[in-house]
Each structure stands twice: as C-alpha cells, then as structure tokens.
C-alpha cells in the first residue's frame, strides 16, 4: 500500500542522501555557519558558567507552569526572529526581481532567489509566524498568567503541560531542521491542494511542513484541554465566574476554540499524509478525490485559529488599559460576552477564505454575513476600551503604549477585514497583497499586544522592570517600519498585485516595492534597540526591582504574590472578594494583610519524561519525512513504552511542610533589593528544590 517514490533510496536513510544537504547554496550555508556559531557560543557560555545542571534540573525537566511558559516564550521569540529574517528576504527578492530586465544572481532568473526557494520562504514565514511564534508566545503567556490570576498552584495537569511544550518544541525543531536537511514546503502556510500532492510536490518539503504542523496541533490541543480544566477546576475560593479576570476569560474563549478546531486540523493533515504515503484519494483531483474538502477542513481550523491568537491578545489589552487608566474595565459583562461571541461565531465563517470558488450566491451571502457579524463583538471591545480610557487618568508607560497603539491596528485591520468580508470586494482583492496587508495589521496587533504584555508582566515573572527609554525608541521605530512596509502594500493590492510573486512582471509597481524596503531597514534598526533595551534592563536590574505590584495600580490576583513569583505561587491561597481583588484590597486598606498560619503544600515533582516524549516525537516525524521506517518504528514504540512506564510511577508529587513555607516566605521578604533574581525563584532557600 505504500506509495513508491523513484530516486535514491536506502533502508537505513530512506530518501535522505548527501545531495539533500544544500551545501551548494551560499545563503543556507551562511545561515548554517551563523547558527552553528551561535550554538557554539551558547554551549561554551553555559559550560563556562556551569549552568548545565541548573538548566536540566530547573528548566528542561520542570513542570512548573511559569517556567514552561517562559520556555514557550523563548521558542516563540527565536522563531519570531527566524520569521523576521524570512520577511527580509522576501522583501529583498521582490524589490530586485521586478521587470523582465531585472538581473538574476545565484542561479535565479531574476533577483537572488529561485522561485522554488522563494516559495519555501513565504511558506516557512507564514507557518513559523502563526504556529511557532504567535501561538507559543500566547500559549506561554496564558500558561504563566492563568493559574496566577485564578489563585492556583499550577495547571490542572502539570505533567501534560510539559508534554505540550515539548511537542511544540519538536515541531519548531522540525521546521528548523528543514533549513539544512532537505527543503520545506512551497505551497503556502495553509497548504494548497493539489500542489501538495505527490505529483506536484515530489520532495520532502510538504512532509516537513505537515508533520511540524501536526506536532504543534497535538501539543496545542492538549494545552487547551489543560487550560480549560484549570480554569474550571482550580479557581481559588470566592473566584466566581463573575469575578474571573478578563484575561482568563479571554483564555477560556480562546481554548474553547483550540479544543474544538485543532482536532479538525489534525484530521485535515492526517488525510493529506494518507494521500502522500498510502496513495489514497482524499484531495486529489482525480479518482473520486475532492480538493475542496481540504480547504473546508483546513479553514474550519484556520479561521478560528486567527481568533485563537487574537483573543488572548485582546485579553492582555483589557488588562493593561485599566491599570494605566487607573480605573476598572468598562463593561466587564459585555467584554466577556464579546469574547465568547467571537469564539462562537468563528466556527461559522471559514468559507470567506475561498469566496472565489464559485459557490452559489446564497452560500457566499451567508458567509459574508456571518463574517461581518464578527465586527459586532469586536466593535463592542473597541468601544469598551475607549470608554475605559474615558474619565481615566492615563499613564503612557511602555505597556500602555503598545496596548493603545494596538487599538489603531484593530481599526485598520478590521476595516480591511470587513472589506474582504464584503464578498464582491473579495472577488477583486482575494489573493492580492491587500489581503496580506489586512492580516499583517491583525497579526501585528498581536505582536503589539505581546510586547505590551511582556513589558507589563515582566516584573511579575522576573522581579524587575524593563528599561523604558530604549524600549520607547524601539516602539516608535517598529511602528514606523510597519507603516512604511504596509501602507504601500495596501496600495499595491488595489493596483492588482497578487501575493506570492517570486517575480514581479509589471514595472509600474516598482516605486512602492522600493519604499517597502525602506520599511524593512527601519525594522532592522528597531531590532537593535530591542536588544539594547533587554541588555540595559538586565544590567540595571537592581535599580528596577519591583514590589508586589510593579505598576502601583494593577488590579488582579497575580499582583498579590511576590515578584518574582515563588514556585508555589501563593504561600496560602487567597480568598477572593471582588472582581479586581488586588484593587479591592488596596481600596479597603487590607492589601498588606499576611496569612497568620501556613499549611503544607502539595507540588508535582519534576520529570524528564515529557522532554523524552518531545525528542522521540521529533525522531518519529523525522523518520516519516525521510521514510526511514526503522526510526519511526523505534520512536513510536519508545513513546508507547514511556507512557505506560509513567503510568506506573507512583512518586509523582511531594509535600512541602508548612514550616518550610514560612521560612521561605520570610526569606523572600527579606531579600535585599538588588539581589539577582531568577524567574519563579524558589525562595532564597536553595535547599527546597522541586524534586527531580
């Protein structure tokens, strides 16, 4: 039943041959050298500082939700950087390859990238940015915040949480591996059938794409289950649904989406795998296949996915604006309903991604209306944020700058999104760079919310605030770069420029394409200031020590424990009295009340099994990509064995006696300010390591 593929093939290495290593491509070799150098430096540094033990014991094997969240965010940042580099390459190619007389370099007829290479880059860019940058960043932030906001010790399933993380990491690693071993898909981030079928994609690129997607899909589904169970079951006493912090509500809505739609994605990809490996006919044009089935299944996930990433972003904005307006969120109930509403409607709009498929007018009309209906709850959010600022006392510190700028992205992205939803407009701009510009407005909104959120909660997690001056320069340059890249892109869309062009045939588009390159240069410049901000913040961390509440006017539960948060979160679980518990306690003058007595705390023990599961999943997928069946089989069996072995492990938690908690609490309170602190520091008493 296995499909036979011509070409070099060996039982040991499958399709992998030396020629698959692109050693003759100067760009990739350069990238490799850069990456290798970076790796060597990192490894050297870690060895020099003697950090291996800490990294292994406190991070890689950790089941602490905060550390898992931080690791998610690190993956997201690294991949954001990779996606950014891809964007730079694409813009450079389009600026160089315009018109039949443009020069060609490095084996390309025009510009410096062959079409095949260019196609892989935008596919990788989209895949990475959505699945391996935005999603991990947001999942990471939810991971850190949700348990803190509801007063829980950890997630409902700390071990499963680590499994999700390492599955996502395995997917990201697979994407990175495709850079240097073989190639990546060239069919767009959402995959185009039948381009992805074997006759049109005979290489391993699509397999890499497919399995990386699949791993991250499984990881995110499990993560969604975990967060939902956490929110339902682990709330502190008094934390009724009406008092749930708004970010937690947003996370709940988002994860309702992930729970219900990521499985559909898994199926869409699995059927594609069957087509490519067993020769079935799900998405083929001939022999009874139906390629529209793929579009339906994919976008039934794909559209809700964009709301899966925007909802937590909205949640962060909804936390930041009240804090810096020194006033409660306007229309809490409306906000909650709007979040749930966006999640609800998101299931019923997927067809707007292929209005041009000549469905009957009635069908197009239906989906046009449902799509525009999303504008209602979103509009409610915009207005409620505006009224939160109304009668406020606004402080434009960094988090607030990012959050309030995001509102304008929402207006522009929403306006253009609604233009696409108006079906006859979409007939003209579908597949044009106008759509590309629309979704970049929305996705950059998320990037803005993430930068806002990172600046806002950084002191909570690490104990010191980020530096503001370089941060503000970064903000303004980043904003300028965005404007200079994407305003011309909207215009080009109206001029009829289609997306995914490795070569631009019409010279009249040239001036605008050149302007976009200027925007890229500004972006590159901005990144320098980001690095400067991080460096200076770390250098001056002693001056920027944060107390419980780094911003003085924060409102929710997470600001009631120490910064950085000790590994058990709250020494004693607080009793919740109001919607904004911290603000309520400040108002009643009881915010400094300490518990009079401590109790034993149960904590999950660290374990290396999730890490192994991730590594084995990588092996399994890598074997599948190259059709090294033995590798797949070995890894598959090992995964099964590990799961069974783990189920026999009876020593999965431990107890910290109340006396020790008391000692640690006292020690934390007595930390002289300026002492270096690490995330989720387990008090100042190293003796109390989480069991390994």
């Amino acid at each position: 039943m296995l499909v036979h593929i011509d070409g070099p093939w060996s039982p040991l290495l499958g399709r992998l041959a030396l020629s698959e290593i692109p050693y003759n491509n100067p760009i990739l070799v350069g990238t490799f050298v850069f990456a290798a150098l970076l790796a060597v430096i990192l490894v050297g540094l870690v060895t020099y500082l003697g950090l291996w033990r800490t990294i292994w014991r406190d991070w890689l094997t950790s089941v602490d939700h905060k550390k898992i969240g931080i690791m998610y965010i690190l993956i997201g940042l690294v991949m954001l950087f990779r996606g950014f580099m891809d964007a730079v390459m694409m813009r450079a190619q389009q600026a160089m390859a315009d018109g039949p007389h443009s020069a060609g370099y490095m084996d390309s007829p025009h510009g410096y990238l062959t079409p095949y290479h260019f196609d892989q880059i935008y596919t990788a860019h989209g895949t990475i940015m959505i699945l391996f940058a935005a999603t991990p960043l947001l999942v990471g932030i939810m991971n850190i915040l949700v348990p803190l906001q509801i007063g829980a010790r950890d997630m409902a399933y700390p071990y499963l949480n680590a499994v999700s993380l390492w599955l996502t990491a395995a997917g990201a690693a697979l994407v990175m591996a495709s850079l240097f071993i073989g190639d990546f898909a060239h069919a767009g981030w959402f995959g185009i059938v039948p381009v992805m079928e074997l006759p049109y994609s005979p290489g391993v690129g699509v397999d890499y794409w497919m399995w990386a997607f699949q791993l991250s899909s499984i990881g995110t589904t499990l993560g969604g289950i975990n967060l939902l169970a956490t929110i339902v079951k682990m709330r502190a006493p008094g934390m009724t649904w009406g008092r749930l912090p708004i970010f937690t509500w947003a996370s709940l809505s988002a994860n309702l989406i992930s729970l219900s739609t990521f499985p559909v994605l898994s199926v869409a990809l699995a059927l594609l795998a069957l087509d490519r490996y067993l020769g079935t006919h799900f998405y083929t044009a001939g022999l009874g296949g139906n390629l529209m089935l793929y579009n339906d299944l994919f976008w039934i996930w794909g559209h809700p996915e964009v709301y899966f990433v925007i909802l937590p972003a909205f949640g962060m904005i909804s936390e930041i604006i009240p804090t810096f307006s020194e006033k409660p969120l306007f229309g809490y109930l409306g906000m909650v309903l709007a979040s749930l509403g966006i999640a609800g409607v998101s299931w019923g709009v997927w067809l707007h991604h292929f209005f041009t498929m000549a469905a009957s007018p009635a069908v197009n009309a239906f989906f046009s209306i449902t799509t525009m209906a999303v504008g209602i709850p979103t509009g409610v959010k915009v207005f409620n944020w505006a009224f939160t600022m109304f009668r406020g006392r606004l402080r434009f510190e960094l988090p607030m700058m990012w959050a309030s700028a995001a509102l304008f992205y929402l207006l522009v992205g929403g306006l253009t999104g609604m233009m696409n939803a108006f079906t006859t407009n979409d007939y003209m701009v579908h597949n044009s760079v106008f759509v590309v510009a629309h979704f970049h407005m929305m996705l950059l909104l998320i990037v803005y919310a993430i930068f806002g959120g990172v600046n806002y909660w950084f002191p909570k997690v690490f104990g010191f605030r980020l530096e503001q001056r370089f941060g503000k320069i970064f903000f303004w340059l980043f904003t300028a770069g965005t404007a200079v890249v994407f305003i011309p892109m909207f215009t080009l869309g109206f001029m009829g420029m289609t997306r995914r062009l490795a070569y631009v045939a019409f010279p009249q588009w040239r001036p605008l394409l050149d302007i976009e390159v200027v925007g890229i240069v500004i972006y590159l410049l901005s990144a320098v200031f980001l690095v400067a901000q991080l460096y200076v913040s770390f250098r001056d961390r002693a001056q920027n020590r944060a107390g419980l509440d780094a911003w003085e006017t924060s409102r929710s539960l997470e600001w009631m424990t120490h910064s950085p948060v000790p590994f058990y979160n709250f020494a004693v679980t607080p009793e919740v009295h109001a919607r904004d518990e911290r603000a309520w306690r400040v108002e009643h003058g009881v915010d400094t009340v300490r518990p009079e007595r401590y109790e034993d705390i149960h904590m999950p023990r660290n374990t290396a099994i999730p890490l192994w599961l991730g590594a084995l999943s990588f092996g399994l997928a890598f074997g599948l990509v190259w059709r090294m069946w033995w590798l797949t089989e070995v890894c598959g069996l090992a995964i099964f064995a590990l799961i069974v072995i783990r189920s026999f492990d009876r020593d999965t938690d431990y107890t910290i006696p109340a006396a020790d908690i008391e000692r640690m609490e006292r020690a934390i309170r007595d930390v002289p300010s300026g002492r270096p602190v690490v995330a989720g520091v387990r008090g100042a008493v190293p003796a109390f390591r989480q069991g390994v």
Partner: protein
C-alpha cells in the same frame, strides 16, 4: 498602614486567606478526560464529514461503491461483540463501586477478550474487502470509508492495550485514587467507542443496505 497577620480582617469578618482548601483529584482528572473525548469526537466528526463529501457514486470512480463494501449483516455481528465488551466493562465498574478487586479484574478481562473478538471479525471483513480489490487507494470513496473503519479500529486497539495495563495495575497496586480515576476514564473511553460505533453502523453500514 500597619502590617497585620489576621485571617479575618475584613470589616464583614470574611476570611482573607483560605484554609484547608484542596481540589478533588478524581473530578479534575475526569473533567480533563471529558474534554479530551470532546476533541476526539471532533476528529470523528471531521472524518464523518469527509465521508459525507466523498460518499457519492461519483467518488467511487467506477470502483466498488457502498453496496459492495458496507455489509450491514457483518456489522450487526460486530455490534454484539462491541456492546458485549462494554457491558462486561460496566460490570467491572459495578464491582469497583463495591470495592471488589477480584470482580474488577474479572470484568475487565472479559471485556478485553470480547473486544478481541470484535477486532477479529472486523479484521476478517476488511481482509475480505481487500481481497476483492476494494483497496483504500482505489477511489476517494474507499479512502474515506476505510479511514473511518481503521480509525475506529485503532481506538479499539488502544482500548485493549489500556485494559491490559489496567489489569496489571489493579492487580499490583490495588484500587488507589490514581487507578480509580484511570478506570473511570477508561469507562468513558470505552462507552465512547460504542457510541461512535452506532454512528458508524448508521452512516456506513445501514447506508449500504439502503442505497
């Protein structure tokens, strides 16, 4: 503002910090498993949708179609096996309520054996179809048909493996909290297979008798 260390400083006398607050492990784990089953139901839904899209005569591309491959008679027989197994597992759960370890072991063992019977009948049926040339790669219709059959079969295999593990755990560890919630989750999983089978029977096999 003075620093106090009272638990009940609030004017109304309500506590500031909770005490002795624990979460019910079994109910938390069960909720999670329910959510997982929901996601699995979504996968089945997507596969049924694929089957609905690819279920037309056109999608058989000239090869065998519903009537030729979906045999309601055999499926009826399979129904007996599967429901028998679920029943046996149900009996094991009754024993669990009474704390009867032997009864639990016996019930699960019976459920496992009967499930093997289901697999045998299912496997023979599939092999017969293969032998007559109805292969998944023959047409879009057959791809969708067999994928559903195999996906359900895979769940039964997983269920069997899980039962085997639980037999060992009940025998060696006893009815601890962990073992109990796993048994309860397995019950959910196993019932879910029966429910999915009802859908399979209606949309795959009965359709073969009607079309």
């Amino acid at each position: 503002m003075s620093v106090t260390t009272s638990s009940t400083l609030d004017a109304k006398g309500s506590p500031m910090w909770s005490s002795g607050h624990g979460h019910d492990v079994i109910s938390t784990k069960t909720l999670g498993f329910w959510l997982y089953m929901l996601s699995d139901a979504m996968m089945f839904t997507a596969l049924f949708a694929a089957y609905a899209v690819l279920g037309h005569a056109f999608n058989a591309a000239g090869g065998p179609w519903v009537r030729a491959v979906a045999h309601a008679g055999v499926a009826f027989q399979e129904t007996y096996w599967l429901f028998g197994s679920v029943l046996a597992y149900g009996l094991a759960m009754m024993a669990l309520k009474k704390g009867n370890r032997g009864g639990v072991l016996l019930g699960i063992a019976a459920a496992l054996v009967i499930a093997l019977g289901f697999l045998a009948v299912d496997g023979r049926e599939v092999l017969d179809l293969f032998r007559m040339g109805a292969l998944p790669e023959r047409s879009g219709f057959l791809s969708a048909f067999f994928t559903l059959v195999f996906y359900h079969g895979l769940h039964v295999v997983v269920g069997i493996a899980w039962m085997a593990v639980m037999l060992v755990q009940v025998a060696s560890v006893g009815l601890t909290e962990k073992v109990v919630y796993r048994l309860l989750n397995l019950r959910l999983f196993w019932h879910f297979q029966a429910v999915m089978w009802v859908f399979m029977f209606t949309f795959l096999y009965l359709r073969g008798a009607i079309v």
